[in-house]
Structure formats: structure tokens, C-alpha cells
């Protein structure tokens, strides 16, 4: 689903240049829950941004569902994001002026789905994440866990094959974090979506199909199954 080869990303120029990614090779398959781990500043978020076509790579190759996105014109990237990706953010990034349903509807409308169809689909997605009774609630009136579930519903609105999540459980209590991860794992397991999660949260590692460690802008090594269990324990 995502094929990354010799990916480099450098911020700034000349002596001020800082290398964030230095030759990353990675393959993520459909139905997989890939967790990216590593210390702060290691390049995890940059990698996620490049994967999600939010940030342009300096060199290398990133293929999304067979489509080469490195070097793709800036004007074409929004369409790629719209078609292939759903994003979940650590800070939820909901629109405070919109209700839960409107937040989800907005994502649908960006896809050109409007009117009664959008309202119905938004309600169904919120029901799917257990928030059928919060359609008219504003983000400010909801708990962190509930906000993140709205964000998941919003990410699913465009029915994307790939979900990219940055620290989705960092701002949540243990119970809410587990619930959110169950949902994300379910999206991979039941719908065959690709789920990439950047996390520091050892409590959720057991949901991973694979864990990749990033350090100094490089993939250090995939974490073995036994080590993964140890970390989770």
C-alpha cells in the first residue's frame, strides 16, 4: 500500500540544513497496523507527514497505492490526500465552531458529498464510534476520548484506505486510549485499511502488526515479535 525507498528530507539550506530523514526504506501493507516509535526529534512525524503527502520529500521515492508522490506538483497533493488518507492527530484538531456531526460532514463535503446524504453518513460514522448521542455536541463539551473518536469518524468519512495517526492516545486516559486503539486496529483487521501510528505509548503496542523504530532519521530495525511483547508488558 505504501512503498518507501531511500527517502530523504532536509529542512533549510546550506549550513543551516538539518536532515530529518536519511535514507528511509519502508513498506506498509494493506490491513497492517504499523507503529512508528522513536525518541523526540527522530523523524517520526516528518516520516508520517511525507507518507501523508503533507510534506514534500527532498529525494527518494514514496509510492501510495502504486502512485509516485515524490515530485508530484503541489497542486495535485490535496487530491491524493483526499483520496487515500485519513488523519488522526494528537490534539484532535476538531473545528471548535462545528458540532460533532458537522466536523464529520465537513470531511464528506470536501469529497463532494453534501446535503442529506452527508448528514446521514456522518450520523452513521458517529454511531460506529459510539457517539450517536453526541451529534449536536461541540468539541468543547466532550471528553478527550470522545473528541478522538470524532476525529476517527472524520478520518473515515472519505472512506480512505490509509489512516495516519500521530500519538492518538497521548492525550487520553488509559481506558480511552485502549478504546481508540481497538477502533484503529479494527479498521485494519476488519476493513483491510492500512493504519500507521506514531506513538510513545507502550500500553498500546500490542495492537501493532509491526513496530518500526526510527532514530536520527533512519529506520533502526523492525522490532521482533518477542521484543514487542516485552515492551508491551
Amino acid at each position: 500500500m505504501i512503498e518507501i525507498r531511500d527517502l530523504h528530507k532536509t529542512y533549510g539550506k546550506g549550513q543551516a540544513a538539518v536532515s530529518a530523514l536519511s535514507g528511509v526504506d519502508l513498506h506498509v501493507s494493506a490491513g497492517e497496523v504499523l507503529m512508528l516509535m522513536g525518541p523526540s526529534g527522530s523523524g517520526k512525524t516528518t516520516l508520517l507527514s511525507v507518507m501523508g503527502c503533507i510534506l514534500q520529500a527532498s529525494s527518494g521515492s514514496v509510492k501510495v497505492d502504486g502512485l509516485e508522490v515524490v515530485g508530484l506538483a503541489e497542486s495535485k497533493l490535496p487530491r491524493v490526500r483526499l483520496k487515500h488518507f485519513g488523519f488522526i492527530f494528537q490534539g484532535f484538531n476538531l473545528f471548535p465552531a462545528l458540532t460533532a456531526r458537522e466536523n464529520v460532514e465537513l470531511a464528506l463535503k470536501l469529497k463532494g458529498v453534501g446535503g442529506a446524504g452527508a448528514r446521514k453518513r456522518a450520523a452513521a460514522l458517529l454511531e460506529q464510534v459510539g457517539l450517536a448521542d453526541k451529534l449536536k455536541a461541540y468539541p468543547a463539551d466532550l471528553s478527550g476520548g470522545q473528541k478522538q473518536r470524532i476525529a476517527i469518524a472524520r478520518a473515515l468519512a472519505g472512506d480512505p484506505p490509509i489512516i495516519l495517526a500521530d500519538e492518538p492516545t497521548a492525550a487520553l486516559d488509559s481506558h480511552s486510549g485502549q478504546k481508540v486503539m481497538e477502533m484503529l486496529a479494527g479498521l485494519a483487521r476488519e476493513d483491510g485499511r492500512t493504519v500507521v501510528v506514531v506513538t510513545h505509548d507502550n500500553r498500546v503496542l500490542h495492537y501493532a502488526s509491526r513496530i518500526v523504530h526510527i532514530a536520527d532519521g533512519r529506520v533502526v530495525k523492525p522490532v521482533a515479535e518477542e521484543a514487542k511483547k516485552e515492551m508491551a508488558a
Partner: protein, 392 residues
């Protein structure tokens, strides 16, 4: 997707962006109130300052603009309408011989002393015109009529200056240039640019009040009415050839000359103009800062929209829609306040004009200022660090 479907999708998305802009604005009412206060303050400042300037322009030359004359014959090199010099009546007969001239009326405009009931003296500008062909006469007469000025020693004053001139009613006897005068009527809204109010009377009465400054066969101006269908420019040229020692101006030229003198060659007009320009600059800065801050408040949301797949054009729509909605809301409030201020100022010495052109121009200016400020914000929004949306 065919082109029709693309258009439908674009239309739906466009509407969503407008709706998002509206909800963004009304969601944070304190922020909206701050934004609107900034816009309203700026627009009222601009409207009042420019209204004051326009009013100065109008007031400085109102007797010319409403004279009804096509051409003015004056002494050479007069600075403005309030600075005429005596002309012999024989010029009038010469002017009447010129082809295309229908009528030439004598017109006096001179400063004369007006004695107040207290004994103090106020200066007034007496305007004497031909009652049979009232070029240069009063307008907006609210009490009395022009025929009342046919009686000897009768005058008409403006309601605005009743208190200043110690006048309370029609029929009141006053004293001008040590001569008896009787108030025969009142006008409304004839402001004077100088401290001397206009007082209208028949030409003969005005000559009498002017006293020694004006002999019986003299007047300060001659007002010309061209024949119907005659080319005023050609009539002017013919008059100038016939009267080479005098100056001939079209009504518009006389108005511009007078405005130029009072507004640009005296400190008052320039000060008002500078005030208007300063108001514009301050207004632009306030609106720009306000709109910029309002947009920056939502910068994270715009980043999220980008991540969700919204093209930059869609984000521009939200930002511009927010700016436009703010501009229109602020404009509506500002125009109501400016209208009230303008209305309240009409009875004072510094009336503030609010012509439709200024009101419409202010809407255009509000939209332009807000859009301009939004464009600055857009530049910022398009340079959002994508990683920003991933920060907690």
C-alpha cells in the same frame, strides 16, 4: 467525473467553506466583537473625516454651486467667490450684446457688519440678487418666500445662525451696516464656510448695506444665463473677448476656484484633508491588524483542512469569506453610527456629509481593507508548517 459533476462538487465545497467561515466567526463571539469594534472604529473614523472634508468642500462653494448661473463675470484675479471686487454696470450691457447670452444679472456678495441685540457686532456675508430672475438666491426656504424680500430692507437668514445673529422670529428688526433690516424669512442648511453667515436680500438692499464700498452702478459679480441650447464654452470665450479686462468663469470653474482657495490654500481645509487621510491610514492599520489576528486564531484549523485534502483555494475561500462577512457586518454598524453622527452634526458649525457615493465607497473600502488584510493572512496560511497539525 465529468465537468458537470466537477462543477457540482465545487459548488458544494464552496458553500461549505462559506458556512465554515460564518460558524468560525459566530462561534467565538468575544473575538467577533473585538473584530467588529476594530472595523467599526476604523470605518466611522474614515466616514466622519471624509464626510467632514466633503462638507467643507461643499460649504465653501455652496452659493456658487446653487447659483443657477452658467457663467460668472468677475474682476480679474479674484481669489474666490467671497473676494469679489466692484464691477461697473456698463459691463453688463456689453455682455448682453454677446451672442448666446440670454440674461446678465448683477450679484453682490460682500461682508457687512450685523449688530446683535447685545450691541456686539458679527460679520455676515450679504448676498444680493435680482429677485425677478433669482440666480444666486437662497434655497431651502422654510419660512417666508422670495417675494417677501421685495419689501425695502428685508433679509432672509438661515435657521442655523439664529442664535449667533440673535434672531428669533420673522418680522424681527435688526441692524446691518447701521441700517434697519427686517427678517422676512428663514432658510435651512445654508452653512457658511467662514464665520460670517450668509444673509440674502434683494440686489438693491444688498447695495445699500454694502454702503460706501459699493456705488449704485456697481456689483461684485455678474451672473450670466446662456440661451437654451447655446454652447457655454463658446459663450464664455465670446464674453472673454468682449470683456478682455475682466475674468469669465463657468459655474464649475468658479466653484472649483473657491473650493481650492478655502480648502487647499487655508489651513482649515488642508487640516481636514490630512485628518481624513490619517483616518484612512489608521483605519487600514486597525482593520488589517484585526483581520490578521482573527485569521491567525484559526491557523491550526486551516492546517487541518489542508491535511484533510482541501486545496489552498478552499482555504482562501474560508479566509476571504471570514473577512468579507466581518467587513459587511462592521460596515452596517459603522454606516448607522456615521449616519447618526452626520444627522446630529447638521445643525452645528461643522456638518458632516454622508453622500451615497461616500457610503458606497466605504463599503468598497471595508471589503478591500478586509480582503487585503486577509491576503496577508493567506500568505501565512499557505506557508503553514505541515507538522504543525501534528503538534499537540
Amino acid at each position: 467525473m465529468n465537468s458537470v459533476q466537477i462543477v457540482i462538487v465545487c459548488y458544494k465545497v464552496y458553500n461549505v467553506m462559506i458556512a465554515l467561515a460564518w460558524k468560525n466567526l459566530i462561534h467565538d463571539r468575544v473575538r467577533l466583537a473585538v473584530t467588529l469594534v476594530g472595523i467599526v472604529f476604523a470605518l466611522v473614523l474614515i466616514l466622519v473625516q471624509f464626510g467632514l472634508f466633503l462638507s467643507f468642500m461643499d460649504t465653501s462653494s455652496n452659493v456658487v454651486a446653487r447659483s443657477g448661473a452658467d457663467l460668472w463675470i468677475t474682476a480679474p484675479r479674484i481669489p474666490h467667490v467671497n473676494g469679489g471686487s466692484p464691477l461697473r454696470e456698463s459691463y453688463r450691457w456689453q455682455a448682453l450684446q454677446v451672442k448666446g447670452v440670454a440674461r446678465v444679472d448683477r450679484y453682490n456678495l460682500a461682508w457687512v457688519p450685523w449688530k446683535l441685540p447685545s450691541g456686539a457686532i458679527e460679520s455676515v456675508s450679504i448676498a444680493g440678487f435680482d429677485l425677478d430672475h433669482p440666480m444666486g438666491g437662497p434655497w431651502n426656504i422654510v419660512q417666508g418666500n422670495l417675494d417677501d424680500l421685495r419689501s425695502e430692507d428685508t433679509v432672509m437668514v438661515d435657521e442655523l445662525y439664529k442664535q449667533k445673529l440673535g434672531v428669533t422670529r420673522i418680522g424681527q428688526i435688526v441692524e446691518i451696516s447701521n441700517r434697519r433690516a427686517r427678517v422676512a424669512g428663514f432658510t435651512r442648511g445654508i452653512h457658511s464656510f467662514t464665520t460670517a453667515p450668509y444673509v440674502f436680500s434683494s440686489f438693491k438692499n444688498a447695495q445699500n448695506y454694502a454702503g460706501a464700498a459699493m456705488s449704485e452702478d456697481q456689483s461684485t459679480f455678474m451672473l450670466v444665463k446662456a440661451e437654451t441650447g447655446a454652447d457655454v464654452g463658446q459663450v464664455k470665450a465670446a464674453l472673454q473677448r468682449k470683456l478682455p479686462n475682466l475674468a469669465v468663469f463657468t459655474n464649475e470653474e468658479m466653484r472649483a476656484k473657491t473650493q481650492s482657495y478655502w480648502v487647499f490654500q487655508t489651513g482649515a481645509g488642508v487640516t481636514t484633508l490630512l485628518g481624513a487621510l490619517l483616518g484612512l491610514i489608521v483605519g487600514v492599520v486597525v482593520v488589517a491588524q484585526t483581520i490578521y489576528a482573527a485569521t491567525m486564531d484559526h491557523i491550526r484549523e486551516f492546517g487541518t483542512l489542508k491535511a484533510m485534502g482541501a486545496a489552498n483555494a478552499r482555504i482562501y475561500e474560508v479566509i476571504l469569506a471570514q473577512a468579507a462577512i466581518s467587513a459587511v457586518m462592521g460596515y452596517v454598524m459603522a454606516i448607522v453610527i456615521a449616519w447618526l453622527v452626520s444627522r446630529g452634526s447638521q445643525d452645528g458649525n461643522a456638518p458632516i456629509a454622508l453622500p451615497p457615493e461616500l457610503a458606497i465607497g466605504a463599503l468598497g473600502l471595508a471589503l478591500a481593507m478586509c480582503a487585503g488584510a486577509a491576503v496577508i493572512s493567506i500568505r501565512k496560511a499557505t506557508r503553514i508548517d505541515p507538522a504543525m497539525v501534528f503538534r499537540g
